[in-house]
Amino acid sequence: MTAPLLQVDDLHVRFPISGGGLFGTGRRMLHAVNGISFDLAKGECLSIVGESGCGKSTTALSILGLQEPTEGTIRYRGQPLAGPGAPGRMQRAKAVQMVFQDPYASLNPRQCVRTSLAAPLKLHGITAASEIEGRIEAMLKNVGLTPEQARRYPHEFSGGQRQRIGIARALILEPEIVVLDEPVSALDVSIRAQIINLLLDLQEKLGLSYIMISHDLSVVEHMSDRVLVMFFGEVVEEGGWRQIFETPTHPYTRRLIAAIPDPDAALNPVAAAFAPDATLPDGRRFVSDGSAAPDVFKPPVPSALVEIAPGHRVRLASTA
């Protein structure tokens, strides 16, 4: 069996929050991510879904090296990517890149497209002008832009085109893993399809692995191979996309799916018939039904991910 491309093992991220008190005596720990583990295979699209504050973005930032994990390991091809023994920014840059949500804030307004694509190449030791030009031209073509547009500045592009530039910048160093942070949620509806199609085409063409952070389950269903559902720092359910969307089991997953504003579901209410259940048919209990927020300042209630079908795991209360 080949080793997975990326291995995240028992990742914890905690933030100290000064909770008042004159000398910071009320300092509390915010448990943002509580023991996340997952593998990412080559060429796979893994989606992490959940609502704001569930820790999905913190997880992504940890993988990108922008947020130091408090505990746990992240390995890329067996080598640590974060924590002790981790490589510097330069090596990590060739492994993982990111596409940002807001195409307006993610491009430097004072750099033309060419500069923002050429600078990382130069930084990574590619200095021959012909090679830089060649790679930029090929990349622009890959994302559906023309080489003539390279001299333009971000404000001369539409939101969809900016997102294409953002994708080009993420791919210019030829990383194997791309983190997609809500890649289409800031775009106009008619543009979303173009970007989704582009991402799927590029994945196939370049053999990319995606980690997609999203709250939009229709997009997740369309793009993912596997899905992790996060709720307040923990994975409550994980499985293949069909397992998650056809047999959602955890009450929170069911609530999420039922809440999608999908025209078909709205017009045919039968489709939204996933009523949250407090227990599994065999009587095992869930820790939370996903309707109330747990206290994020306390360590989580002990629980475990239990396999209910091959590859389909759900968080249940520990029987101990």
């Binding site: 990108l64 090296g65 922008l66 510097g88 920014r89 330069m90 990590r92 840059a93 060739k94 993982v96 890149q97 990111m98 940002f100 949500q101 807001d102 307006y104 804030a105 993610s106 491009l107 430097n108 307004p109 004072r110 750099q111 923002s116 600078a119 990382p120 930084l123 990574h124 404000h155 001369e156 539409s158 939101g159 953002g166 910048r169 993420a170 160093l173």
Partner: protein, 273 residues
């Protein structure tokens, strides 16, 4: 980008001061120091001496033209020093945070608590009078606001996607600061520097007036006012014209700064869809 009336008025006044200073050797009718003639002292303005003459019979118009050189040098050099100190401290503090941020913040607050003219006086007292020490004194005393603005701009720019993208692309911290953050906060920094030039010109005048700045017989607008003190009843033009020069140039710098701020304001800029 569109500039308003204020900007153009300020730019014209500033250009006038710059022209006066740069062209002084060619357009000034006399020598500012050597052409002293006690026989023709305290003459009111006429066709030969446009702004009259001072107590030593030197042409006030000539001395004002040369004084513009001093004022401009002081304004520009002190603001360059201020901006470099302020931006370096503010940007690194905002970007790195932690103990360095606390230290810079503390330093900034201390600087803000001391009246800058008093602090400049102290520096001048240590370094002795003269143009170089004047530049150092004014350059070291007014960076706190620039520092604050640089720090807060950095804090907001740091969370922008393109700064995070630069981090993931492997850029080092200094490279990120200079290629991603600094160019995007040049607007407010430039405005601060332009506004600061006005106050630097005023401070130079004040320090020279107190006898700590430019030493006689070299002409600076402040030292000209000092000289005019005894003559103000007899020959008011000796005080009026340097005073007017200070007023107009400070007004010019301030209007220019205001105009720049208005036109660099992101809300005034159009963003194409």
């Amino acid at each position: 980008m569109r500039f308003g009336f204020n900007f153009w008025l300020g730019a014209s006044l500033t250009a006038l001061v710059i022209l006066a200073g740069v062209l002084a050797p060619w357009i000034a009718p006399f020598d500012p120091v050597l052409d002293a003639d006690l026989m023709s002292s305290e003459l009111p303005p006429d066709a030969t001496f446009w702004f009259g003459t001072d107590g030593q019979g030197r042409d006030v118009y000539t001395r004002i033209l040369y004084g513009a050189q001093i004022s401009l040098t002081v304004g520009i050099v002190s603001q360059v020093i201020n901006s470099v100190i302020g931006v370096t401290l503010g940007m690194t503090a905002g970007y790195w945070g932690g103990w360095w941020d606390d230290l810079v913040n503390g330093l900034t607050n201390v600087m803000l608590a001391i009246p800058s003219l008093i602090f400049a006086l102290a520096v001048m007292a240590v370094l002795g009078p003269g143009l170089p020490s004047l530049l150092v004194a004014l350059g070291l005393t007014n960076w706190s606001w620039t520092c604050r603005i640089a720090r807060s701009s950095t804090l907001s720019l740091k969370s922008q996607g393109y700064v995070q993208a630069a981090q993931t692309l492997g850029y080092g911290d200094l490279r990120i600061m200079f290629t991603q953050i600094l160019p995007n906060m040049m607007g407010p920094i430039l405005v601060m520097a332009t506004l600061g030039m006005g106050s630097a010109v005023l401070s130079e005048a004040a320090l020279s007036f107190l006898g700590l700045g430019i030493q006689p017989p070299f002409p600076s607008w402040g030292s000209m006012l000092t000289d005019a003190r005894q003559l103000i009843q007899l020959a008011p033009w000796v005080a009026i014209f340097p005073g007017l020069a200070i007023f107009l140039s400070v007004l010019g710098f301030n209007l220019l700064g205001d105009g720049l701020r208005d036109s660099l304001d992101p809300h005034m800029r159009t963003r194409k869809p």
